[in-house]
Structures are given as structure tokens and as C-alpha cells.
């Protein structure tokens, strides 16, 4: 009896493992694999990478006192180089206190609200881009690995549904470009796998730094679909699915993208 249960459990586990990846690890490619030599060398250049301007801004902000409690990030987390190592690779994740799914931006604003008594930072503000770039930078080179167990599971399922949903005037889902046709050309550009591991990233098209949600909005605009407000639950679910899909890819923040 027990053995039968064990075998059944092993079978279930085996099936689950077989489903553990959307793209086989050997075929998993970061967006940097689709870059030209010029942008790739710019991303790798520790000095000239323009994203480093935001990382430096974030580094300064890390110890700036804010809010009614006159605290800075450093008051609790001390040296980000050790305390934030690996953190960005685990987001989005469930916030234990509220039970809600949060991304790095959301976590920073929760911290500001609960611990510092400070106003939330706006998405795409220089401060938010700086602090998220600085925090994510500390995980550079570490593989993405998010939890989709327990309360995160429903968000994961919703994220996958959002990923596969056809939308907009072009009636396209994420799948049609980033799963079925990556590596092929779309006009002058090579379609990437749509991996999130370099964000916040500096995009040439924007001439500035931007969050993953800004990138998602750019995709939605491209397929003439409705863009949702920053921080909306559908984006968070999708970000969780994308992070799961990218598991194993190293964080590249601050990335440089076309």
C-alpha cells in the first residue's frame, strides 16, 4: 500500500519535473544572446554601461534617510553587497504579511510604507529605477529561481494564462513571438525569447533605464493591445511566470537592450 503511494508520488513528481521547464535549459537564451557585438560589449563594460548611472544613484539612495521614522534602506539591511545578494533572483514572491504577490518594486514600496513611514516611489521614477537597479545588481550572475509553490501557484497559473492569451488588434499572445518564433527575424530585429533577467535595463529605444513592466507595456503597444497600469496584478502574475520560465538564467542587471 505504502509502496503504491510512493510509486504514485514518484510518478507525479516525475511528471511535474518534466513540466519544470517551458524551454529546455540547453536552449534557454538571455536577451543578450540576441544582441549585436556593440551592445553586448557596452553591457559588459563596467564603466561605459549607461545603466551604471542608475546603479550609482541607487547606491547613494540606499543610505538616504526617509519617512517619518527617519530610516534608510541601510538602517536595516546594512551593506547591500551582502544583504541583497541573490534577493532579486527570487522575485516576484509572496509577501508573507499580506499574502499578496509582490515584485521588487512592490517590496521596496512595502518596506518604505511599513518600516520607514515613507511615501511609495513611483514606477519609472529615477529613484525607483535607481534602487531596483542597485538591488538587482547585487545578484548579477546568480541564476533566477522563484517559488511557484503554495500561495504562489494560483498567481503562476494566472501568469501562464496571461502569457498564452491572444490580445490586441493583432490577436497575438506572448507565445507567438517568444516561444514559436524566437531566433527568427522581425523586420531588422531578431526575436528574443522574452527573458526578464536583465531588468531594469537600459534600452536604446528609450534612451534611458526602464523596468520590466515598461518593457511589457512596449510589447503590448506593439501588438496594439491595451496597456495596463503599472503594478497591476496581471503584470505581477505574468512577471512570476516569466521568472519561472527563465529559471537558471543569470541576472544581468543593468542590462543593455535594443
Amino acid at each position: 500500500m505504502n509502496r503504491a503511494v510512493l510509486v504514485a508520488a514518484a510518478l507525479v513528481a516525475g511528471t511535474a519535473l518534466a513540466q519544470e521547464r517551458a524551454i529546455p535549459l540547453s536552449e534557454l537564451k538571455s536577451g543578450s544572446a540576441f544582441l549585436g557585438a556593440d551592445l553586448l560589449s557596452l553591457q559588459k563594460d563596467e564603466f561605459a554601461n549607461p545603466g551604471m548611472l542608475w546603479v550609482e544613484r541607487g547606491e547613494k539612495l540606499w543610505s538616504v534617510l526617509a519617512g517619518t521614522k527617519k530610516l534608510s534602506c541601510a538602517s536595516c539591511h546594512e551593506d547591500a553587497k551582502s544583504s541583497m545578494r541573490g534577493v532579486a533572483a527570487r522575485y516576484p514572491q509572496i509577501d508573507a504579511e499580506s499574502g499578496k504577490l509582490v515584485n521588487l518594486e512592490g517590496r521596496i514600496n512595502l518596506c518604505r510604507g511599513r518600516r520607514m513611514g515613507a511615501e511609495p516611489l513611483r514606477y519609472e521614477s529615477e529613484e525607483m529605477l535607481g534602487i531596483t537597479a542597485y538591488v538587482a545588481r547585487q545578484s548579477r550572475g546568480l541564476p533566477i529561481g522563484v517559488s511557484i509553490a503554495g500561495p504562489a501557484r494560483s498567481h503562476f497559473d494566472a501568469g501562464e494564462a496571461a502569457y498564452r492569451l491572444r490580445r490586441g488588434q493583432m490577436n497575438l499572445s506572448c507565445v507567438h513571438c517568444h516561444e514559436a518564433n524566437w531566433g527568427k527575424r522581425l523586420l531588422s530585429e531578431t526575436i528574443s525569447q522574452g527573458q526578464p533577467n536583465a531588468y531594469p535595463a537600459y534600452r536604446m529605444e528609450w534612451q534611458t533605464m526602464g523596468s520590466l513592466e515598461r518593457r511589457l507595456r512596449a510589447c503590448l503597444s506593439g501588438i496594439r493591445a491595451e496597456m495596463l497600469p503599472y503594478g497591476s496584478p496581471e503584470y505581477l502574475d505574468l512577471e512570476l511566470y516569466l521568472a519561472w520560465r527563465a529559471q537558471g538564467l543569470p541576472i544581468e542587471t543593468p542590462g543593455v537592450r535594443r
Binding site: 564603466f47 561605459a48 549607461p50 551604471m52 548611472l53 550609482e56 544613484r57 536604446m204 534612451q207 534611458t208
Partner: protein, 106 residues
């Protein structure tokens, strides 16, 4: 205006040293329109200069064709220990200054 400047901390006398400058600036071209159709005024860093112990060793006149957050790389000859002063001004008259020191040995 945030900037990153890289000057070698030490050099030999007569050595050609590489200097790298990255400045955060929108470099608004003056050719773009806002959401209601008004022309956005040009605002670019129009001049960037570097003085080495008071003597100008590099000067660049920049204009609309330069991308946001300009990156400039140039070379100079290490002659004496001292200070390199970088100055840049944009169309709105905002000025940025950064200083870096260099030790020159025999």
C-alpha cells in the same frame, strides 16, 4: 547631472592615458514634439572640456546628433601629478563639474 569619470590613478611621465566620461543627460534633440504637438526645446550638453592642471587638453562641441547619456573617451599625455577638471554646460545653462586626481611618477 550625475557623471562617471575614469582617470588612471597613477601613470608614468610621458605615458598616454585613456580618459572616459559618461554623463547622465537627456540630450533632447529639439526635433521632437510632445503629446499635444508642441516642439520640445533643444537641450543638449553643448560643450564638454577637460583641463589638466589648468591647461585645456580636450574640448568637444556636442549637438543634436549625440545620444542621451553621452559617453566620451579621449587620451592625454601624463605630464605631472595633479588634477583633471571636467566641465560641461547644457543649453539650459546648467553646468556640471567633476575633478579627478592623477599621480605621475618617473
Amino acid at each position: 547631472m550625475a557623471a562617471r569619470i575614469q582617470v588612471p590613478a597613477q601613470a608614468k611621465r610621458g605615458e598616454i592615458v585613456e580618459i572616459r566620461v559618461l554623463i547622465q543627460h537627456p540630450m533632447e534633440t529639439g526635433y521632437r514634439h510632445d503629446d499635444v504637438g508642441h516642439l520640445i526645446k533643444r537641450n543638449v550638453i553643448n560643450v564638454l572640456s577637460c583641463r589638466y592642471n589648468g591647461v585645456e587638453v580636450f574640448r568637444a562641441d556636442l549637438s543634436s546628433g549625440i545620444a542621451a547619456n553621452p559617453y566620451v573617451q579621449f587620451y592625454t599625455v601624463a605630464e605631472a601629478s595633479g588634477e583633471l577638471e571636467f566641465t560641461w554646460i547644457d543649453d539650459e545653462g546648467k553646468q556640471g563639474t567633476e575633478r579627478q586626481s592623477i599621480q605621475v611618477g618617473p
